[in-house]
Amino acid sequence: MRLFCRVLTGVLLVLPAVSAVYKDEAYQNDWHLALIGASIPSSTFFHQPAPDAKASLIYTLTSRSILAAINPRDGSIVWRHLLGGGTSFGVARKADGAVIAAVDGDVKAFDAIDGKLIWGMTSSERVKDLQVIGGSIAIVLFENGSVAKVSGGKIVWESPAVDGDIPQSLLVQGNNVMALYQQPLKGLRIATIPTETGKLSSSSISASIQPVDKIYSSASVVVWTENSLGQIKFLVLGVKSSAVSVAAPERVVDIKFQASGKTLLVHYETEDKSWAEVYGVDQMKGSVDSLYSLGAKAARSAFSVTEYGSETYITWTLPNGECFLYGSKCADVLDSYTSDSQNNGDVSVLSAISEVIPKTEKKYAVRTFIATSSPGFHANTHLIRNGKTMWSRPESLVSVTTSAWVELLDPAAEEVAEELDVEGHKNVIGAYVHRLTRHAHELVTYGPDWLAGIPGRVTDAFLGNEIREERGGKWRDFFGFRKYAVVATKEGGLVALDVGRKGLIVWEVSLVSGKDSGQWQGVQHIYEVAKGTLGVVTCGGEYWEVDAFEGKVLTKEDVGGRVKSSTILMRGGKSKVIIVVLEGDRIAVLPPGSALGEPAYIVVRGDAGVLNGLRVDNITLTTVKTWDFVPQPTERIHSVINRPVHDPIASIGKVLGDRSVMYKYINKNLITIIATDPAHSSATIYILESVSGVILYSAIHAGADTTKPITATMSENWLVYSYFGTEEVNGEPGAKGYQLVVSELFESRSPNHRGPLAAAQTYSALAGEIGRPHVLSHSYIFPAEISSLGVTATKQGITTREVLAVMPWSSSIIALPKRLLDPRRPVGHDPSEAEREEGLMKYAPALEIDPRSVLNHKRELLGITDIVTTPAQLESTSIIFAYGGDLFGTRVTPSMPFDVLGKGFSKIQLLGTILALGVGVGFVAPMVRRKQINQRWLTLS
């Protein structure tokens, strides 16, 4: 036995990196939706990556500060860069063979073909607007009003700001650059600066501009509205003229301007209509003349003005997908395209950019890139070519805030159960008929077609082809790799993604309607309340029940107040109860009408930065505070972490090399609190027993950087957390870098000893009988920042666990085997015989990133905030889904796929070997027989 163990450990140590990515499985088991977010309309354009390039790409800067190049052919991302953090303002402009983008105070020029940085410049002021003059020389307008010329990353000249003026926009006219400012209570100021010298001259215009009014400038004209969209004024630049005034139509809620060359389009929106007025700008006379106006059509549409050759084209895209093309001279429709897509009527087109290429005989090739918004889903993008939607990108999923797993149904058990359930509710004859039809149906299902398919299935199995699923939809596959992840967007959309089928969108439903989208406060949490039913708790105080397989809303209830937090409790058998904590610590139980059963103990965040333990009475639902946790005066609670809902523990102890056992301290009510102290730059970790509020363990890390992410994850009897540690801790030298700390809780210090609770049959946390764990810890230096941690989950918990870490700087997720982080790794000496047998390596403070453990391999994941895991039907496999920006899904086998034949197992080879052996035996057997007979006869003779 001992020998066997030794061999096994040896084998384990020799094995390649656990849950590594196999070359033939990469891009097969994992999927990735690279999302960028909502495009900023003024920073989105078609542009030829090189001056002589035939095809153009779509370049866009999004509200998530991602600059991306999209291939208009298939919607794939050619390159993208995350330029800032959070939602910051940005501008992107096209330049020769380059794209120049400014986010906050950073101005960067990127190669348009491959996205390589050409130059960069950083200012302490935020950038308000940016224009490109020849080559890749940029003129930048800063928020403080100063203007600078930037060439090759260096400031050539800077023109100072005038106090009190609010910078609006920047425009280039010939050799001059003009900065437009709004002067409070006075009007507008236009500063003209020659691009060569940078010498400023100003002129002012009086205008009464209200906060809702718009100011727009193109190369030749400045347009603004006055008196809260009551009047529109045009001013042609470069000539001495006064502003032309036009009264705006009544009941207009929004006015947008678009210009290209000498054409200016004014887009009016009322509640139910939208139309446009097209103006021609005469640079010589300084006049603006109305060319034509377009008749009103459906509201919330989008216009785009584009030039091709000497012609200017206007495209008008309606929410139902209809598209009209106009010239710049008259209101005649040059071409119109009807849409084949069905529309639910609540869509609005946020913005559109077009590329129009005239073909022969009054035919045009029109490509329009639009961003649409519907309730719950903001800024999905589509490319429409001559009225046909070529591709769509679900950019609204970039704002996923929460997710839930949906178990699919087992076809072997539940399909029959469903049928039997139907029979049970019928009378005898009806049930009999139903059964007969069911059997007849089975005869058809497993009839000639099924029989004819057997050879195909067998060859598939032998050739190792992907097994064709006979059932899809709500029926799960044999190994349980398919599961739905239902995610909620920030805007109130609910989407089900099939994680086993490359993130296919199964259904989507909106929890908000167009009218009340302004009051939407977000989804608090999604729970699977019963098989196939989701319960959605919203922050605003609603409870929705949604069919998990179809996406149909079943019920909607009012909880009775704003929701602070919620949790789900198992209440005997399969019934589940959601406890919702409303404002004022009132408790509601969901689904409505369900009973709590027995008193519950919950933990809520108090108002003054404390943590409270509450006892919820099972009948009256009144709460009694059982304990409170107050951090040190200078500390505040950073985060609270608990064990995953599904966290089975296969073994209660850890067998050591000498066959003694360290018993794990197992308590499902453990929570971890991270408290940070920015003033003293320290972080404190507390492990609490959440029913009694007893602090079981605490650790203080002086020199922890509180401005960088501090994250933690818990599972079984251990905790892993990471922080950035500095070089000096309380005067002692330290190791600078990201630290990964593991703490494992055992019942007692000595093996084979179960601590004070050894003899107890039952024990109660309320009586304080929970013992004190013996905690072992190790700290490691990790080479990268970790923004989020997760842990793999398997069905029985037999498979070893892996800690999943999101590394934002290298845009990847790494899987660290728990065995690597073991706090029992011997320090300062090589492992003894017994420790080697346990699989412990000598402690080395620095962990290296093994590229083979990078789950996303060559994919780049941007903006991931959370990783969630769920078990597959196979014990060896854990399914992973990551969201928050990009969406990523894969599955891992932390202890190798021990319960399934992998792709490396060649059935053909096995058969070949058996056949070869058979042939060999057939040849050798007569020889051996003859020899044996000969031998006997010859010896006897």
């Binding site: 390649p16 990196a17 590594a20 990515v21 196999y22 070359k23 033939d24 990469a26 390159w79 860069h81 960067k108 990127f110 190669d111 491959d114 996205g115 390589k116 940085l117 960069g120 410049m121 302490s124 730059s681 950087d705 401005t707 960088k708 950035f724 500095t726 070089e727 000096e728 030298p733 330290g734 190791a735 600078k736 870098g737 490691y780 080479p783 990268a784 920042e785 700087w809 290298s810 845009s811 080395a844 403070p845 620095a846 990133i849 590229p851 083979r852 990078v854 391999h857 060559k858 780049e860 792709k903 490396g904 060649s906 080879q909 044996q932 007979i933 031998q935 006997r936 010896t939 006897l940």
Partner: protein, 217 residues
């Protein structure tokens, strides 16, 4: 107020400077231009983290780095790089050292030149290639070699014996005597039933029984 802000801005500029460097060609990476455009560098210390991208000309630059002691890391999809320690001191000097993760920060490694020259440590391979069936590798494995050797011996040894007995009549006689004494083949004579029953069988009895079987054949 505005002036004050400007002053503080100017003073920040005075004590902050740019940290610059290049990705130098090396045997592992003869042409650094092949690095992906997403290759980025981070300069970290307590309270700040600066990030920059590799430029088209394979240089990089961090703007306005305040005085302090920093850890410089490179994130790249295709190559791994060693961490560096970058010290920006009050005199506007940048001092670069090799550093080792997990060591005390004051343990400096080899001093490097400034501007920083960065060279990869090793290329990154994300994948494990599954070992397929490979006949040459199979023949190379020791188990197969042993098996082949014994097979050869089984075939060759009797032939060798025969040859020797032809040459040497004495040896032949000795061999025949030995065969008569010890029975033909101990394995063929082995009686499984009696072995399992625990009764030891005499070799002669085994001999007759197997002889009987032989006649049946």
């Amino acid at each position: 107020m505005k002036l004050l802000a400007l002053l503080s801005f100017l003073s920040a500029i005075a004590s902050a400077l740019d940290v610059q460097g290049t990705f130098a060609p090396s045997p592992l990476l003869p042409n650094p231009s092949t690095l992906p455009p997403s290759t980025s560098l981070t300069l970290t210390t307590t309270g700040t983290a600066k990030r920059t991208l590799i430029r088209r000309d394979n240089t990089f630059s961090f703007h306005d780095v305040p005085e302090g002691s920093y850890l410089l890391d490179v994130q790249c999809q295709t190559h791994q790089f060693a961490p560096l320690r970058v010290d920006v001191n009050g005199q506007g000097e940048v001092v670069v050292h090799q550093t080792f993760r997990g060591n005390e920060w004051r343990n400096k490694g080899e001093k490097k030149s400034y501007p920083i020259e960065i060279q990869p440590v090793r290329p990154i391979d994300y994948y494990i290639v599954r070992e397929g069936f490979n006949p040459t590798k199979l023949l190379g494995s020791p188990m197969v070699l042993i098996a082949l050797f014994s097979l050869v011996m089984i075939v060759m040894l009797p032939k060798l014996m025969d040859q020797r007995s032809q040459v040497d009549p004495e040896f032949k006689a000795e061999l025949e005597a030995q065969q008569r004494k010890g029975g033909a083949n101990p394995v063929a004579n082995f009686d499984v039933a009696s072995f399992l029953a625990g009764t030891s069988s005499s070799p002669s009895a085994g001999g007759t029984s197997s002889g009987g079987k032989g006649k049946k054949n």
